[in-house]
Symmetry: C3
Subunit: 283 residues, 3 copies
């Protein structure tokens, strides 16, 4: 993912309003930072793919919290070559069905079946390829800000804590927007605009969330307010970090969460990009 992004950024940045500084290397592991102008706010977009690790025999253990239904197609590769196998779920135990044994520790992901209609996109990993896409679209016109591509969001975290340290200590930035995808619920619907999450399992500082809602209101861009008691994001790790960081999750909602059939309304992606562009200017 990092290599893909590096290549994309290098190819496209000359067409952007401001050319960012590209920051990566061993001290950022597999993460990538784009620094535009004089940043006041950071966009965090995680690059994770949930999936499965091959355990012993035909057993699988999850990476993150993937939906697991018998029949899902999984792909990967081990020393013996490429793999396309089938997931078997049996009373909560997970197995694969494949013509040969797969090497211990091999990672398998959902096979991509990208579908697009006039209104919707559907695929695995819209969470969070769309968050990454949003960041790259915002990059085109961004003047001041950080775009931070992070790892391990789906599996307990581990990069945001050091990325946050760098962000605060190096650039004094303490505002963050979490560019990620959320859930369709009885209160958050397709096509009603990007969701501003007032809380999930974590509760961000109210004054920052209110400021974002105020700016969204002024902008006229369609948005929905989300209020949840569960769920988490890179915001959780920012909240726990030893730095005083204000954060808010702002993202389009999807149906069929963490399955091969994640579904997002295109207009919600449009309003996500618009709102981020506004927020990065005005926050």
């Amino acid at each position: 993912m990092k290599d893909f992004l590096l290549k994309y950024v290098k190819k496209n940045k000359s067409f952007w309003k401001v050319e960012p500084e590209i920051i990566h290397g061993p001290e950022f592991q597999d993460c990538l930072i784009l620094k535009f102008g004089k940043p006041r706010t950071a966009i965090y977009a995680h690059m994770d793919s949930i999936g499965f690790t091959v355990r012993y025999q035909d057993q699988l253990v999850p990476i993150g919290g993937p939906k697991a239904e018998t029949g899902y197609k999984l792909v990967g590769e081990d020393a013996l070559g490429p793999i396309e196998c089938e997931l078997v779920e049996n009373d909560g135990d997970l197995h694969y069905k494949f013509a040969r044994g797969i090497q211990r520790g091999t990672e398998l992901v959902f096979k991509c079946d990208f579908r697009e209609s006039e209104e919707y996109v559907q695929s695995c990993y819209l969470d969070n390829r769309l968050g990454v896409f949003n960041a790259l679209k915002v990059a085109e016109t961004l003047e001041d800000g950080l775009i931070i591509f992070s790892c391990w969001e789906e599996h307990g975290g581990g990069s945001v804590s050091y990325l946050a340290r760098h962000m605060v200590e190096k650039w004094g930035v303490t505002q963050a927007l979490i560019s990620d995808i959320t859930w369709i619920t009885e209160g958050v619907e397709h096509g009603q605009g990007v969701a501003i999450s007032m809380r999930d399992r974590s509760i961000p500082r109210r004054s920052f969330v209110n400021r974002i809602i105020e700016l969204a209101e002024e902008s006229g861009i369609p948005y929905q307010l989300e209020v949840e008691g569960a769920g988490g994001s890179d915001g959780k790790e920012l909240q726990a970090s030893p730095y005083p960081i204000d954060w808010c999750f702002v993202g389009a909602p999807e149906d069929n969460v963490h399955s091969p059939d994640e579904l997002v309304h295109k207009s919600d992606i449009v309003s996500m990009i618009q709102l981020y562009s506004t927020l990065m200017k005005r926050l």
Copy 2:
């Protein structure tokens, strides 16, 4: 809460033995630090109110771990005006009953019904207004020490980690007392003195806890020893922080935890204040 405390401190500090430096601002979010003399030990007192966030329709999600019984009175405010509504608990699902809909994301807290007898005080939020009260009483005679008013203790933390960083890096302070309220159990009773918690879900360093017990014993102030396998406090976040901090929870016990009817024996508050005053001198 911070504004209330700032006003109180500014009004009263000239009567205190030592006038503290008042430290706050954006880099401390909604937290507040009082610095007295040359601090060796910090008192942490959280300012949280547990409660509920309005979700969709008439649904509520908890802030922290409030007790939830049908009939509890909740208060708050949204753009349409002040709210006084009733909590409805239905098989674990939480709702409100009110003449009109309440705006999504509105925060509701228990309606305060403060009761005082010769021996007891009873109210919501004795946890942790009494911990704050204790800190303010200790402040009157404190010569050297920090008093740190923190946030998010009831909901996963998020301020103590940066407060601890500041405390250690700026002032070299690595000892902390958690000024908070604990539970009446079969081993901790009303009127038997402030509780010194030897452990809860977290286990503080034994040598520090032993030193506190030793000083309590020498002082003659009534105290009880608490040993629990569950429960947490700001100590949990100090324990996890990337600094070597010794901490111990020292606080009066209450009955009817996290309900509108929290009950604390006055003599336990008295011994809490006395023990803190001693510990801040001798640690």
Copy 3:
């Protein structure tokens, strides 16, 4: 444990290939660091003993996750003298049986019954006395590296975060091996070599794990690959720390985990020491 280790190191270090710098003191609480030459990689070995804390009356609460069966012998000491009592497990509730009451907050551990055959060692606390033993054997020939003896691994952590901070900020070391004991499972067997854990509840960075497997493969030392969905180690705290640290758990497997009867095959200890010696040279 720290005192024991200090004494052992001071007595033996003159026979080692390189004499380490011995680093300890209040800023490391009860932890201990040995610094050899110019370190590139750190070995973390925790010194914890799981066990029980005496609560009220004859109740016990666990320290870490000890196996608890009626009849286990527990030992400790309080102000009234030495204790050897019996554990009673009753529907999940834990009690002790002893001729007298034991002081609140007293810590009890398994009574040691060390057994040795030609092939196996058996005792309580092989997890993690063997990890400590491994580190001390590797120390004999170590030229460049850190050996870090940590605390609280079995009970939520609390030292690795500051040890990691020191390690990175002071010496720029960002590679770590977790010298600890893992589980016999259907995929990890006695006598098949040290286990290299590709993941447990946490997932270390794949590129680092692959490098370790590659070096193990080249070395010809017997090893097994472990893949788990649960379990944790000091690696979990390194993962969460605000530093970009690569870590991998490498350790012999045991049966009867967290009981007085932990069982490890001697040849797996041998290959653990050999592999660590190789890795510390080549990483």
